[in-house]
């Protein structure tokens, strides 16, 4: 018996309930990961740097993120008198919201099946399967820039302004390269839906039985695209070595210099939420999404965590690039490489 997919028109109540549960679970889990990503980052980097990281709040410092949150929550919320108050308030929200919104189109597990009233139903573990999923993600990533630019401009501080300008230039140039690298992926999958992209990565590599020990993940057919995407997204989420907009030692935290209390915490959360989003996208596009040896969403979370560990590791290892070097890399190395990759992929698809 083939399971029936829940729809709003056929089974409105079940559909609404399933949707609400999915939204709440996805949101809460993301928030939890955000909170504990800060903890994990401090612990992992601490270990790499011969320190311990947080140890005092709760067992092994496990309550540290909550303590941090509480502390920032009770701090005075300062709006500088020379700042543009509306833009100043809206900026952190404009950064955080798109970061969470991208989660909407990510499939995080195989279909969940259950029987109700004698009928077998299937719920796709994905909040919504947009047929333009990839485009949606690119759009959300693009929206995130506005938050930083606004924060930089509204603060009315020279350091923040420099941070805002840097991030505009950086995000625009790297989004281009990262976006173009994804083009090669949906040339192969022939769909923009994230669900479709995961489905296209099932089975042995290139459908060859002799390669059945390798899954058909796009990392194997598109290694260059993967590299470009990872570097591009590191730049997009402002992490080392591309953390120029908030370069602590140059611009005194750049665009968020003037922010305090919960608004500052929102920037912080956005950074980690973005990290999760990018990891999830990378896992979905290049590593077969939820496919793998374990139960669906466990595979997916493992892949996401592996990527996040990678980002944290990079932060402990690399110095920061300079503004002109960043631009050079973005426009003169990564963009041409992404274009060449598309051309090669196109030729390969034509020939085989």
């Amino acid at each position: 018996m083939t399971p029936e997919v829940l729809t709003l028109s056929e089974t409105p109540w079940l559909f609404t309930a399933a949707m609400l549960i999915k939204v709440i679970v996805a949101f809460v889990v993301t928030l939890l990961i955000v909170a504990y990503a800060t903890y994990a980052e401090r612990k992992i980097i601490g270990r790499m740097q011969t320190r311990l990281g947080p140890t005092m709040t709760g067992p092994m410092g496990l309550l540290q993120p909550i303590a941090d949150g509480l502390k920032l929550f009770f701090k005075e919320d300062i709006i500088p008198s020379q700042a543009h108050w509306f833009a100043f308030i809206i900026a952190p929200i404009m950064i955080l919201a798109p970061a969470f919104l991208s989660i909407v189109v990510i499939p995080f597990g195989a279909d969940f099946q259950f029987t109700y009233d004698g009928t077998l139903y299937a719920v796709p573990l994905q909040i919504t399967d947009l047929n333009i999923g990839v485009l949606f993600i690119l759009a959300m990533a693009g929206l995130g820039v506005y938050g930083i630019v606004l924060a930089g401009l509204a603060s009315n501080s020279k350091y923040s302004l420099l941070g805002g300008i840097r991030s505009t230039a950086q995000m625009i140039s790297y989004e281009l390269a990262a976006g173009l690298s994804i083009v090669a992926i949906f040339m192969l999958s022939e769909t923009l839906s994230m669900r479709g992209i995961v489905a296209a990565q099932q089975g042995p590599l290139w459908g060859l039985e002799s390669l059945s020990f390798l899954p058909n993940w796009f990392i194997f057919s598109q290694p260059l695209a993967f590299l470009l995407f990872i570097v591009g997204s590191m730049a997009e989420i402002n992490r080392t070595p591309f953390d120029l907009p908030e370069a602590e030692t140059e611009l005194v935290s750049g665009f968020c210099t003037e922010y305090s209390a919960m608004k500052y915490a929102l920037f912080f959360m956005a950074e980690y939420a973005n990290m999760i989003t990018v990891s999830a996208i990378a896992a979905t596009l290049f590593f077969g999404g939820w496919a793998g040896p374990f139960y669906g969403w466990i595979n997916f979370l493992l892949k996401v965590f592996a990527f996040m560990f990678f980002f944290i590791w990079i932060r402990a290892t690399f110095p920061r690039l300079r503004y002109d070097q960043l631009m050079f890399l973005g426009w003169k190395v990564m963009l041409p490489a992404a274009l060449v990759n598309i051309v090669i992929t196109g030729i390969a698809i034509l020939l085989w």
Binding site: R166, T249, E250, Y323
Partner: protein
């Protein structure tokens, strides 16, 4: 032709800025991210050490010198103590053990200072891990400091004519173990930085200053040696018995931030070599010169011997009185040539003390090293000059 309607932006970098290494203020005129003009403003940490010393006996000034370059206190102690000894004409009477211990501590100080420099320089450029690795080793040196002098930073260990105390038991072995482990640690830092493409991009060709310009300004120390000038006071004008040791003076021709980084790392290797040689040559012996009118007698003599009691009384109440005259004594401090110019009018206070701090002179190279470069290079150049504001403002 379109009218190029742009204006520059003036930005105050410091005195509260994480990367100006203290309270340096830089007035930067920026055209976008490009520095058009950089003007250092100094004086936020002025404590008047030179003036204060005119109202203190010669011994009482030693603790003030700790506060000059607070990252390398023993080098300052050494420079000052040598200057006073030269003024008193007792340079030849310093016991051998004192000379050796002074060299050991001065080279440990060089390591300590260079470790902080590397830590902050790397952190400024964004390499966070190196910072903590360096501070791990610096902690060992601070522990050694604590064991010899009781203080972790403001050591106040050297005395005119000797040392305040002998090395405690077992410390020689601890210093030896540390000095032997240092080259491996330096490899570790190099492993994270030297071959790193981003590190190379951030440092090679940045903050160039030619040998002529460096000499014109008076830049000394590693910054001068990285511009191809082979000049090191330890070898070219030896003091404290530096002529006994076999060490190389690293010189490089690149004139840029990367070469200054390499020169300092090589200096750290040489410093651990000198420490090990000095430890080999260290023999038991007195730790104070035999000059009763200058050096405090030990407590036993003060109680039992009338002459020692008188000397003790005189030294404590009014200090010693050098002959009228003036001298200049300089040492190769970690940051460059640290000089003390002392004028005596025959009283127990110096008539005038002038300090030649290496950071102050080296800082003058900053504007020409950064103008026309990017804002991020300013940070790299401040780091590579290795300035300490305690020494600049005095």
């Amino acid at each position: 032709m379109a009218v190029n309607n742009t204006e520059t932006m003036t930005i105050n970098m410091g005195p509260q800025h994480p990367s100006t290494h203290g309270v340096l203020q830089l007035i930067l005129e920026l055209d976008g991210e490009i520095v058009v003009k950089a003007t250092p403003h100094i004086g936020f940490l002025h404590r008047g050490i030179e003036k204060l010393s005119e109202h203190r006996t010669y011994h009482q000034t030693i603790p003030l010198t700790d506060r000059l370059d607070y990252l390398a206190p023993m080098s300052n102690n050494l420079g000052y103590v040598l200057a006073v000894e030269k003024l008193l004409g007792m340079t030849d009477e310093i016991p051998e053990r004192v000379q050796r211990i002074r060299v050991i501590m001065a080279e440990l100080t060089r390591l300590k200072s260079h470790l902080v420099w590397l830590a902050c320089h790397a952190l400024d450029i964004g390499a966070m891990t190196v910072f903590l690795y360096c501070f791990r080793e610096r902690e060992n040196i601070t522990d050694i400091y604590e064991k010899v002098s009781g203080a972790r930073m403001t050591s106040n260990y050297f005395r005119v004519g000797g040392l305040s105390a002998d090395l405690p038991d077992g410390l020689e072995q601890e210093i030896r173990t540390f000095a032997e482990s240092m080259p491996a640690h330096i490899e570790e830092y190099e492993g994270l930085l030297t071959g790193n493409r981003i590190w190379q991009k951030r440092t090679i060709g940045v903050g160039k200053i030619s040998a002529e310009a460096a000499i014109d300004i008076g830049i000394t120390g590693p910054a001068l040696r990285a511009s191809g000038v082979d000049w090191d006071l330890r070898r070219d004008n030896p003091y404290s018995g530096y002529e006994d040791y076999d060490f190389e003076v690293p010189v490089r021709e690149g004139c840029d931030t990367f070469d200054r980084y390499k020169v300092r790392l090589d200096e750290m290797r040489q410093a651990s070599r000198i420490i090990l040689q000095a430890l080999d040559k260290l023999k038991p012996g007195p730790i104070l010169a035999d000059c009763p009118k200058i050096v405090l007698p030990n407590k036993q003599d003060v109680v039992n011997n009338i002459e020692s009691l008188i000397h003790h009384f005189k030294i404590v109440t009014e200090g010693f009185k050098p002959e009228p005259g003036e001298i200049y004594q300089s040492v190769e401090a970690p940051k460059g040539e640290l000089g003390f110019y002392l004028i005596s009018d025959g009283s127990s206070h110096p008539f005038r003390m002038k300090i030649r701090p290496p950071s102050f002179v080296n800082l003058q190279g900053l504007p020409q090293m950064v103008e026309g470069r990017l804002l991020a290079d300013v940070i790299a150049v401040i780091g590579t000059l290795d300035i300490v504001l305690g020494e600049i403002d005095r």
